[in-house]
Each structure stands twice: as structure tokens, then as C-alpha cells.
């Protein structure tokens, strides 16, 4: 059991540290930027996910690889977004990139919401089935 626990802790640590990086980068986003609201939303979803995977090993397994690559990458992207904004580059390519990042954050938010909801799918399916069985039994009486 101890070995699994150490592994679990290692995974959770990676995820938590990278969420923390996103939070730090969020602080540096200029308040005029539209992306700020979406990153805030992302942090809220990730915090909810974190609480869920902390308490449920099965859900952690589903989210296992996010801590290795996906979330650290998101943190880096936001960091680079901040750098570009600060440098105030007005070229078309730069503006296109910024819009791209803004849209990506929105898409990722949708992805994370779905991911969070998926944690409860099995539970919902099981509960739905249980209710159907109960109603059927009652009707038979």
C-alpha cells in the first residue's frame, strides 16, 4: 500500500505544482486582457478536478498524465502570452498568435469541464440503473 501511496503522492505533486504555476502566471496577466477571465475559470475548474482526484484514486488514474505534460505546457503558454503582451508586438502574426492562445484557453476550459463531469459518469450511470431497477420492482408489486 505504501508504494502506491508514494506514487499517488508523486502524481498529485506534479499536478498541484503545475496548477500553482498557472496561478502564478495568472497574477501577471494584465487586467485589461480578455484572457484573464478565462484563465481564472480554468483555475477554478482545475481546483475542482484536483479536489476530486485527491480523494478518488480512479479519477487520479484518468488524470494521471496531465501533470506530466498538459498542465505544465498550459502554464508555459500563458507565461509566453504574458511576455508577448508586455513586449507590445503589433505584427499580424503576433496578434494572430495571441488570438489563437485566447481561443485555446476557452477550448481547454470546455475540455476540463467535460473531464470533470466524466468523473461522475460511472456514478450517474450506476445510479440511473439503480433507479430503473427500483421502479421496475415497484411496478411488479
Amino acid at each position: 500500500m505504501k508504494e502506491n501511496l508514494n506514487e499517488e503522492i508523486e502524481e498529485l505533486t506534479k499536478i498541484k505544482l503545475s496548477i500553482n504555476d498557472i496561478k502564478k502566471n495568472y497574477q501577471e496577466i494584465n487586467s485589461n486582457c480578455t484572457i484573464k477571465k478565462d484563465v481564472r475559470k480554468m483555475i477554478n475548474i482545475l481546483d475542482k478536478i484536483y479536489a476530486e482526484i485527491f480523494n478518488n484514486n480512479n479519477n487520479l488514474n484518468q488524470f494521471r498524465f496531465y501533470g506530466d505534460f498538459y498542465i505544465p505546457t498550459i502554464a508555459r503558454i500563458i507565461n509566453r502570452y504574458n511576455n508577448l503582451i508586455q513586449k507590445n508586438i503589433k505584427t499580424d502574426d503576433a496578434q494572430k498568435l495571441l488570438s489563437n492562445i485566447e481561443q485555446t484557453i476557452k477550448n481547454l476550459n470546455e475540455h476540463f469541464e467535460n473531464k470533470y463531469n466524466s468523473f461522475f459518469e460511472t456514478e450517474i450511470i450506476d445510479l440511473d440503473a439503480e433507479i430503473k431497477v427500483l421502479l421496475k420492482e415497484l411496478n411488479n408489486k
Binding site: 505504501k2 501511496l5 499517488e8 500553482n20 485527491f54
Partner: protein, 589 residues
């Protein structure tokens, strides 16, 4: 003031008083004089000398009416060129020299007090037993004196509140740094306090108490086992920012360094892999001990650390379990005892036997010369009306009953604010002393008590002189033992003939412990060879068949930190309980 009208001390100052006066002169620049001197050192005389030398309108603030009267008596008896007309005790009608109780001051607010001082041209204020002022008043008076820079403040105390960490700075702000100090050993050497020694009388808890303690600890251990095997808790600590992100949280770690170390210890004990750098910090891994768990639980439940929000529900369960066994008391966690057990140990029934043994022993040694005082915390009056109640608590009345039942040849007085009991055969002398103090017989109520009427409860219609009358009765008759409460006789009670004291109190604070001991170590002009014994009672504990120190012992240890006395083995005066070398004794091995 003309020399022949000058108010002077009639007698010779003692050596240490002369020294103190010299020291004071060096530090008078800040208009604050702070004198710390053991009871009996003559602080009153020192302060009065300064007041009369300054020759300005003065207010002397004192803790009680009894002490107020003592000040006035000193002024009139020990100084020349002063009479009653120059003295007032009424804040609404001040004269040149005024002695007022702190209680009278509390009716006024800051502006009113400032006005009183200014209108009456008060330039000297004495704060007697300055530690008595309510905490809030230290700050307020400091502010007033800050604005009235011409006022000289003379603060007197035997016991600065060293162990009041929260308020000590405010106290020093008001009184100033200590300018002169007179210690007990110095006074004994100069024969201004009597030679004395402390003794510690140990007893063990009863079988029932031992069982209660063991049962409590079993419950506490269950909670600890649940805690240390709870995976959510282990994970939450392992992933805490102190552990996984220490570089970015140095300030927080420093502020909570002890908890940081405990977390590392906890994780290492659970064989959780932590970063090497963190691992190095607490190299020698010792098992978590009870104190570690107590501190960790307290941190988890009361520090609102957001890192533990993820295990909110688990912590609620922890709090519920601890509350159910009584392990939480005012935000503190105690896994060895709950409040009930702690009180039971302090008021341990075995101490009643200890008291009897001490009384019997001291009576064998001193016989009719014994004047022994027992000071305790509570009266426990419920015992006085019933003959049938089994005595199972410490208190004035249980102690009284226990002594009178088992040592019936020894005469006892009880003196508390609500209950006064004297031997019936002393009633006539009591009445004579009352008469001497202008109390008529119709104002005295006497009721015999008990099956044999050997004792009587006495009351006066006006109780203000009761302490004085009973003190005189105690001194002048063959009564050997007086039992009283800390509240009434713990401080300021003047009875220099007392030669033995039993501290049957759980008090461990510096201020009160020293004040209580002060009752026994005064010199007695009628007995220049007086020596005093001061007894302290401690209930040890048993763990695995062996005696261990325990909570009650810890209280006495704290008490002795501030008590100076003779070492048992070396020619030294020491503070600290180590001078008795108790832990080397056989029963601890």
C-alpha cells in the same frame, strides 16, 4: 519645606534600602521609578521616603482597602510631621497625600482621571503592587502619563508579571524598566525575612484515577492511530506547500518552523518519500511523540491553512473525535489528560492525607508553637452541611473536615470570604477581640456546628474587620492551623507569626506563587528565631508500573522556576526544582 517641618522616617534605613535609594537616584531621569522587592523588604517605606522627599501632591494607588489602611498606618506611625488631616482616601476630595484603591479608579475614564490629576496638581503617583492593575489599564495609564510628563511614577511590586507574555511589554511601558531590586536571599541575610526552606510532598493517584487516566489515553491513542493511517491526511501533508514547494514559501516555513519539522517527522515515520533536501533537515528520525501530535492537531484544526481545505471533512471528523473525549480545551489539544482529569489530579484526594501527615509531623516538632496556614483554591462548602458526604475533593471545608476528624487534638480555624469557623472554646476570646475592635455583641452571629459542637461558625454584620480579628485570634490562642483561600489570604495578609505554610493550591504563576509564600517568611518581632517551612503538594502519575512526572508535577516545576531557595546538596541558592534532585530519587527509577 522647612527642615523642622520636613517629613522624615523615624528609624534607620536597612542596608538594602539604602542601596536601593542610591540606585533609584541614578535612574530618576525618566520620571519613572520601578522598585521590585520581596514582601517584607519595606517597599512602602522606600516609596513614602520618595513621596515625602518630592514634597508634591501625591496619589498612592493600592489593590485593597486592607492595604490602604496599612499604608496610612505606616505614614502616621513611622514618619514625623504628618497627621491624619494631610491624608485623604476619597478621590472626590483630595488632599496633599492620598491613598486610593484601584477599584475606586475604575469608575472613571481616561479624560476624567487626567482632569483629576491636573486640577489637584498631582505630581507623584505611586502604583503599589502594580501587577494588580487590570491589563487594559496599563495601556490607558501609560497614555495619561505620556501626556502629563511632569508626573513622577513610582511602581512597586514583589512580583512583576514575567510570565504574562502577552502584557509584560505594556506593564514595562507603564512602570519603566526596573531601577532597583531587592531579593529574598538578601533580605534573609539582613534578617528582614526569616530563614526558610521549601519541601515537596509527593503522593500517587488512586487506583480509580489511574484507571481513568489509562482509559482516556487509550481513547487518545485510538484517535492517533486513525489519524496516522488515514491516507487523505498523509497525502495532504505530503503535498503541503512547505514540503513540495519550500523554496517559494520560506517566510511561511520560518513562521511555522516547528510544524514544518513535525510534518517531516510524520512523513518519514510513514516512509513517505520526500525531497532529499527536506529529508536532510530532520536527519535523526525519532518517532512522533504525543506533544508532536498535539501541536499538529492544533495546527490542522485552528490555523485555517488553505492547503488542508481538500481534507476539510476528515478534519471535521478529527475535531469531533477529540471533542468527544474531552481532548480540546480552549483551542488547546491535550492527549494525555482532559480538563477533568487534570483538575482531579490537582485536587487529588491523596493530597488530603498528605496535608494531614504534614500537619501531624509539624505539630510533633513545634507543638504549641506551630502556626500553620493551609492555602487552597476553593472552599467547597457543600461538605459543611452534611455529615455523610464522603470527602473526595480538595477545598477549605474538606481539608477542615479531614483534619478535625483524624487529628482531633489539633485546633483549626477556617477563614474565607464567606465562611469563618473557629473552635467553640475560642468563642469568648473571639467576642473580646470583637469588642476591642468596637464590634458589639448584637452584631455577632455564632452557630455551633457538627455533632459534637467543637466548632462554631461565626459571622459579623459588618465583615470588614473579620480578617483582622481572626488573625489576632489565631495568634493569641492555642489554635495551630488556619485554612484559607488564595483569594483572601494569598496576598497582602499580614501575619508574621505564621511559621509553616502548606500550598494546597494548583497555582503555578510567578506572581501568585511568590505572594502566597510571602505569608510565611516575614520576620516575627516576638520570635526572632523564627524559621519557616513551606510545603508543596504534588500528585505523581504511574505509567507502566513506574512513577512519572505528570501534569501536576509540571505545575510545580513551573512554580519553582521563580522561587529562590537552598539547594539540598550544595551550598548554593538556586531557582528551579532541580535543587531537590527529585528525579534522581528511587521512585523514578
Amino acid at each position: 519645606m522647612k527642615e523642622d517641618n520636613k517629613i522624615s522616617f523615624k528609624y534607620e534605613y536597612r542596608e538594602y534600602q539604602k542601596r536601593a535609594l542610591e540606585e533609584i537616584n541614578k535612574y530618576i531621569d525618566d520620571n519613572k521609578i520601578h522598585i521590585v522587592a520581596a514582601p517584607g523588604a519595606g517597599k512602602t517605606i522606600l516609596a513614602l521616603k520618595l513621596v515625602f522627599d518630592f514634597n508634591q501632591n501625591a496619589i498612592i494607588l493600592v489593590p485593597t482597602i486592607a492595604i490602604r489602611e496599612q499604608w496610612i498606618e505606616r505614614m502616621l506611625n513611622d514618619f514625623t510631621n504628618i497627621d491624619k488631616e494631610m491624608i485623604s482616601t476619597d478621590l472626590k476630595n483630595l488632599k496633599k497625600y492620598n491613598v486610593i484603591s484601584y477599584q475606586a479608579l475604575y469608575e472613571y475614564d481616561k479624560d476624567e482621571i487626567k482632569r483629576i490629576i491636573e486640577i489637584n496638581d498631582i505630581h507623584t503617583i505611586v502604583l503599589d503592587e502594580a501587577h494588580h492593575l487590570r491589563n487594559a489599564w496599563w495601556k490607558m495609564l501609560s497614555q495619561i502619563f505620556e501626556e502629563l510628563k511632569q508626573v513622577k511614577i513610582i511602581s512597586l511590586t514583589a512580583t512583576p508579571p514575567y510570565d504574562d507574555e502577552k502584557n509584560f511589554d505594556k506593564y514595562i511601558e507603564l512602570c519603566g524598566e526596573i531601577d532597583a531590586q531587592i531579593n529574598i536571599p538578601e533580605l534573609v541575610k539582613q534578617k528582614n525575612l526569616c530563614p526558610h526552606q521549601d519541601f515537596i510532598y509527593l503522593n500517587a493517584p488512586s487506583k480509580e484515577q489511574e484507571q481513568k487516566i489509562n482509559n482516556y489515553r487509550k481513547e487518545a491513542i485510538k484517535i492517533i492511530r486513525w489519524f496516522e493511517n488515514n491516507e487523505s491526511i498523509i497525502k495532504a501533508i505530503a503535498i503541503h506547500k512547505f514540503i513540495i514547494d519550500y523554496k517559494n514559501n520560506i517566510d511561511d516555513i520560518i513562521s511555522n518552523y516547528e510544524i514544518f519539522l513535525i510534518m517531516i517527522k510524520f512523513l518519514k515515520n510513514k516512509n513517505i518519500v520526500i525531497e532529499k533536501y527536506i529529508d536532510e533537515i530532520n536527519k535523526k528520525t525519532s518517532p512522533m511523540n504525543i506533544s508532536d501530535y498535539e501541536k499538529l492537531f492544533k495546527y490542522l484544526l485552528y490555523n485555517n491553512d488553505s492547503e488542508f481545505k481538500v481534507i476539510e471533512n476528515v478534519l471535521k471528523e478529527l475535531k469531533k473525535s477529540l471533542t468527544q473525549v474531552g481532548a480540546i480545551d480552549k483551542g488547546n489539544i491535550n492527549l494525555l489528560y482532559n480538563k477533568e482529569i487534570e483538575n482531579e489530579l490537582s485536587e487529588n484526594i491523596g493530597k488530603l492525607q498528605s496535608i494531614n501527615n504534614i500537619v501531624e509531623h509539624e505539630y510533633k516538632c513545634l507543638k504549641e508553637k506551630l502556626k500553620l496556614v493551609i492555602v487552597t483554591d476553593f472552599i467547597k462548602d457543600d461538605y459543611s452541611n452534611s455529615e455523610e458526604n464522603e470527602i473526595n475533593q480538595l477545598g477549605v471545608i474538606p481539608i477542615f473536615k479531614n483534619i478535625t476528624e483524624k487529628l482531633d487534638s489539633i485546633k483549626v480555624i477556617v477563614l474565607t470570604g464567606t465562611t469563618v469557623i473557629i473552635p467553640t472554646d475560642s468563642v469568648e476570646i473571639f467576642k473580646q477581640i470583637c469588642l476591642k475592635n468596637k464590634i458589639k455583641e448584637e452584631n455577632i452571629v455564632i452557630n455551633e456546628i457538627g455533632l459534637d459542637f467543637k466548632f462554631s461558625k461565626v459571622e459579623l454584620n459588618n465583615n470588614s474587620k473579620m480578617v483582622q480579628i481572626i488573625t489576632e485570634l489565631f495568634e493569641s490562642t492555642d489554635v495551630s492551623v488556619l485554612i484559607g483561600t488564595v483569594a483572601l489570604i494569598g496576598e497582602g495578609w499580614d501575619a508574621p507569626f505564621v511559621n509553616t505554610l502548606i500550598m494546597a493550591s494548583s497555582i503555578s504563576t510567578y506572581v501568585t506563587s511568590n505572594q502566597i509564600r510571602g505569608r510565611a517568611i516575614r520576620i516575627d518581632k516576638n520570635n526572632i528565631n523564627k524559621e519557616a517551612n513551606i510545603w508543596h503538594l504534588v500528585c505523581l502519575e504511574k505509567l507502566g508500573g513506574k512513577y512519572v512526572k505528570g501534569k501536576d508535577f509540571e505545575k510545580i516545576e513551573k512554580r519553582f522556576k521563580a522561587i529562590e531557595g537552598l539547594s539540598l546538596k550544595e551550598d548554593k541558592i538556586m531557582t528551579n526544582i532541580n535543587r531537590f534532585e527529585i528525579l534522581n530519587r528511587l521512585f523514578f527509577k
